[in-house]
């Protein structure tokens, strides 16, 4: 045992020496910061302990193990890693040119080198739900990833979260053909399953050297339970999982008129209990229908719906989250990276909710715990609670304060982002340029001073001989 341990230590030391890099510590304690756990009360000055990637203690007074690395975060704010609930960014394109393609998986197209993941880290978003875009009838399956890693496998937090569906017409189609394609997909699935069930029943009887002795309809009923996962082909596998509740449906409703067909589709095919509605700007108007089914919703990137009265020309604005909040629905906010405004920050989206009368606590949940719940990962993420994954953002101030920066981000208790080392941010903010200018100024100043000094010295040098002369001459005279 001892020799083994020594060997291991030697190996580790050797490794450390070769790379001169410290191994990420297994235990990290953040001491002296203000903790916003999202669940439970805020702690004005407390400690958060992460051991082996999991949060093991949060509180005012926490006993820190001797082998934990202690990080002083006094004056800073600890906040759970935020969650981007719905984005196609990180893929090569939002959708394929195929109306019904439930066999696709974002796994194939996730690009770990995409800048959108780096931006997510920079903005304190430590889990990203990558899902195909809205331009489809049925798209592929999605997954939740960490915004860091060399491959999608390394990044994955949870695969096969949901299938993307849309009741809003895909480019080139109208609502009639959109819904016809949707109906066709599920009718074809039913037809496929009937045939498969019959074949399975027949195959099982054949094992016992028996032949089908019942009406085909009865054979189909009996065979339905005999269908195993390996019997299903790629085209139908995910749709069957959807009906079984093993994969969720995220249905995009671009407008209010698309909400009822979405609910209808989910109800008819038996997956309403596993449905999340992704709302377009105008879809909030179907709030009655939404409240009636009580399913979670993902809010549009643009939070304000503007509408001009066609007769009076008067402009009416509706703040969408408030309508949804008042309806008592579970909702998540999306960032809007394509906006040149601050909408790209989830914290800004939450701050605007507060401005429009949503309680602070609810607004903070809409960027952390709510998306975790909607994605079914709230046992791991979404709040700073004992037992959850150590995904923590260290903020320079209150999350809803516009002057606040993400200072550091820890994923699984390992440092994943450090603003002090964010070279690109420095370039973006012109800090590098400013630094260079400052250095140049200092250099010029120094050179000038040196010049002055050397100039003075030269003058002195020039003076010196005359002095010598003057001193010499009298002495000479003296001689």
């Amino acid at each position: 045992m001892n020799t083994k341990r020594i060997l291991l230590t030697c190996c580790l030391l050797g490794l450390g020496a070769a790379h001169s890099e410290a191994v990420p510590p297994a235990k990290v304690a953040f001491e002296g910061g203000r903790i916003i756990p999202v669940v439970g009360e805020e702690i004005a000055k407390g400690t958060l302990l992460i051991e082996h990637g999991k949060i093991t203690a949060v509180g005012k007074k926490v006993e820190i193990p001797y082998d934990a690395m202690v990080i002083d975060v006094s004056g800073k704010v600890l906040f759970p890693g935020m969650i981007s609930p719905h984005t196609w960014r990180g893929l090569d394109r939002p959708n394929e040119n195929l109306p019904v393609a439930p066999y696709l998986d974002v796994y194939d197209a996730i690009d770990p080198s995409s800048l959108s993941f780096e931006d997510a880290l920079r903005d304190g978003v430590l889990a990203v739900h990558v899902i195909q875009g809205n331009n489809c009838v049925i798209g592929g399956v999605s997954r939740v990833v960490r915004p860091i890693g060399r491959t999608p496998d390394e990044m994955t937090i949870k695969p096969s979260i949901a299938l993307k569906l849309s009741t809003s017409p895909k480019t080139g189609s109208e609502r009639m053909s959109q819904m016809a394609a949707m109906r066709e997909a599920f009718l074809e699935l039913a037809y496929y399953l009937e045939n498969l069930a019959e074949a399975r029943y027949e195959a099982e009887l054949k094992k016992e050297n028996k032949e089908v002795d019942v009406h085909p309809e009865e054979a189909r009923t009996r065979g339905r339970e005999l269908i195993r996962d390996e019997d299903l082909d790629d085209k139908h596998r995910n749709l069957v999982k959807l009906k079984d509740g093993r994969v969720d449906a995220w249905i995009y409703c671009g407008a209010a008129t698309d909400v009822a067909p979405a609910i209808e589709t989910a109800k008819r095919n038996g997956f309403l209990e596993h449905t999340v509605l992704v709302l377009g700007t105008e879809a909030y108007r179907a709030v009655k229908e939404l409240r009636a089914v009580g399913r979670p919703v993902v809010l549009p990137e643009v939070l304000v719906h503007q509408e001009r009265d066609p007769i009076t020309g008067e402009l009416n604005e509706t703040f969408i989250p408030k309508v949804i909040h008042d309806a008592g629905l579970l909702y998540a906010l999306q960032p809007n990276p394509s906006s040149s405004l601050a909408e790209r920050f989830l914290t800004y989206q939450a701050a605007r909710c507060v401005r429009h009368g949503i309680p602070r606590r609810a607004a903070l949940k809409a960027i952390t715990l709510n998306p975790a719940k909607i994605l079914g990962i709230d046992d791991q993420l979404g709040s700073l609670e004992v037992g959850k994954t150590g995904n923590v953002v260290i903020l320079s101030g209150d999350p809803l304060d516009f002057n606040t920066w993400v200072e550091k981000a820890y994923i699984d208790g390992i440092l994943a982002y450090d603003r002090a080392k964010d070279e690109r941010l420095k370039v973006l903010l012109g800090l590098k340029k400013r630094q260079r200018e400052k250095e140049k100024q200092e250099k010029d100043k120094q050179e000038e001073e040196e010049k002055k000094e050397t100039g003075e010295q030269e003058e002195k040098k020039e003076e010196e001989p005359s002095k010598k002369k003057s001193t010499q001459s009298p002495s000479g005279e003296n001689r």
């Binding site: 959708n95 040119n97 194939d108 690009d111 770990p112 080198s113 491959t151």
Partner: protein, 418 residues
């Protein structure tokens, strides 16, 4: 056969009668006895041996003897090529060529993946491109179909000389050509990576199932002989790892997927066929896999907008620890004869000259699984040689004489091409 041997005899007589013409006879195509006495021989053997003032004897299309001039006497009957200031290097090997054929048959767009197609059908003997190639010292090439679809068929391993296809041919199929992404996107109304990768995996899994079916039969696990299927049969060698899979792949995500899907999961013997842009960042993944060869080209540089820096691709791959590294021309994208310039470019942007020379001889030979025949000057190997006025990596140097299978196929003293 008899006609051939009569011809040969006739040629020998001609040679015997006019010996002074022999060295400058281009296209005579006779396998003779050649003796090179040169200033330097870069052998590119396992020990990286470099011989100064050395002799290389060639007979019967093979390299007979390699050694120092003081140790080897030139036997009688050998045509002496005495160039005390020249370098003798192995014939250059091109791992990515589209131009050894008719040029009109780059690929057939039947489906997005096209098993069953072979570039052998388009191979053209004594094409202008082959001639240009050997004037640049290139003697062996892998001729592959284009990258317009995800799987464009099977490539051909060929020498760049021969009167007919049989004479040129080394092996067909010599590889399967797969395009991971970056061109097949234009198929149909446009396809993305999620569909392309899914579809490619489907095709390969079907091919693998066919291969497994035959394997079971051959191992005696079943007595039922599978039906022969021309469409899938060429894939048997792919999954046996007998032939390589040449992958058109570049950028981080795409190379990452090639390594993961094809090498790691489907256990294919892959070659990264372009590996350009910021693909060198996948070096740790490539090294982890261990057996992957990287053939970089035609682009030798990449402008990294994030860092605002010009990156030399080969140098960056090398820096990342990748050692199974060569360069290619993607001929005709870069003309075949400029393979040595590709290596020079790689060096201009930070690679090492000796490694670059190895990257157009020994390494591509290993890449193409031909290291037992070409890519180095060793006794018993094919007599594929280039006589250069100096270091081939130095762009001021030219190839003076090219030999393929013991035949002089280019001689600058008769007609200088470049």
């Amino acid at each position: 056969m008899t006609i051939n041997s009569t011809k040969r005899r006739l040629f020998s007589i001609v040679f015997a009668l006019v010996p002074w013409v022999s060295a400058s006879w281009v296209g005579a195509g006779e396998v003779g006895h050649l003796a090179f006495r040169v200033g330097k021989v870069i052998t590119m053997d396992n020990k990286n041996l470099v011989l100064n003032n050395a002799v290389v004897l060639v007979s019967g299309g093979e390299i007979e003897k390699v050694g120092l001039a003081r140790d080897i006497a030139i036997p009688e009957g050998y045509t002496l090529i005495d160039k005390p200031e020249h370098w003798l290097v192995p014939g250059l090997v091109e791992a990515h060529n589209h131009a050894a054929g008719s040029m009109g048959d780059l690929h057939d767009y039947v489906y997005l993946t096209n098993p069953g197609l072979r570039t052998l059908a388009a191979l053209a003997p004594e094409s202008e491109n082959a001639k240009r190639g050997r004037a640049g010292g290139v003697t062996t090439a892998l001729m592959i179909s284009g990258s317009g679809n995800n799987l464009s068929g099977f490539g051909t391993l060929t020498k760049l000389a021969g009167k007919n296809v049989d004479e040129m041919l080394i092996r067909s199929p010599g590889c399967v050509k797969i395009s991971q992404a970056g061109n097949p996107e234009r198929y149909w109304y446009g396809v993305g990576r999620s569909f392309m990768y899914y579809n490619l995996r489907q095709t390969l899994e079907k091919a693998l199932a066919y291969h497994r079916m035959w394997e079971r039969y051959e191992k005696g696990e079943t007595t039922k002989k599978p039906e022969f299927d021309l469409f899938w049969h060429d894939f048997r060698e792919v999954f046996d790892r007998e032939i390589i899979s040449l992958i058109h792949t570049q950028w981080y995500q795409v190379v990452m997927s090639s390594v993961d899907m094809l090498a790691k999961k489907l256990k294919m013997r892959i070659v990264l066929g372009h590996s350009t842009f910021e693909a060198y960042k996948t070096a740790p993944l490539v090294i982890e896999q261990g057996d992957i060869y990287t053939s970089n080209g035609p682009r030798q540089i990449y402008f990294d907008r994030r860092q605002r820096k010009i990156m030399g691709n080969a140098a960056r791959w090398w820096q990342g620890g990748v050692r199974k590294l060569g360069v290619n021309t993607d001929s005709p994208v870069v003309p075949q004869e400029e393979l040595s310039f590709q290596a020079a470019m790689a060096c201009h942007y930070g690679w090492r000259p000796y490694e670059a020379l190895r990257g157009i001889t020994r390494i591509p030979a290993e890449t193409l699984t031909l290291e037992n025949r070409v890519g180095s000057i060793e006794e018993g190997k094919d007599a594929d040689l280039g006589l250069w006025t100096g270091d081939p990596i130095d762009p001021r140097c030219a190839c003076e004489l090219t030999v393929i299978d013991g035949r002089i196929v280019y001689d600058a003293s008769v007609r200088r091409e470049f």
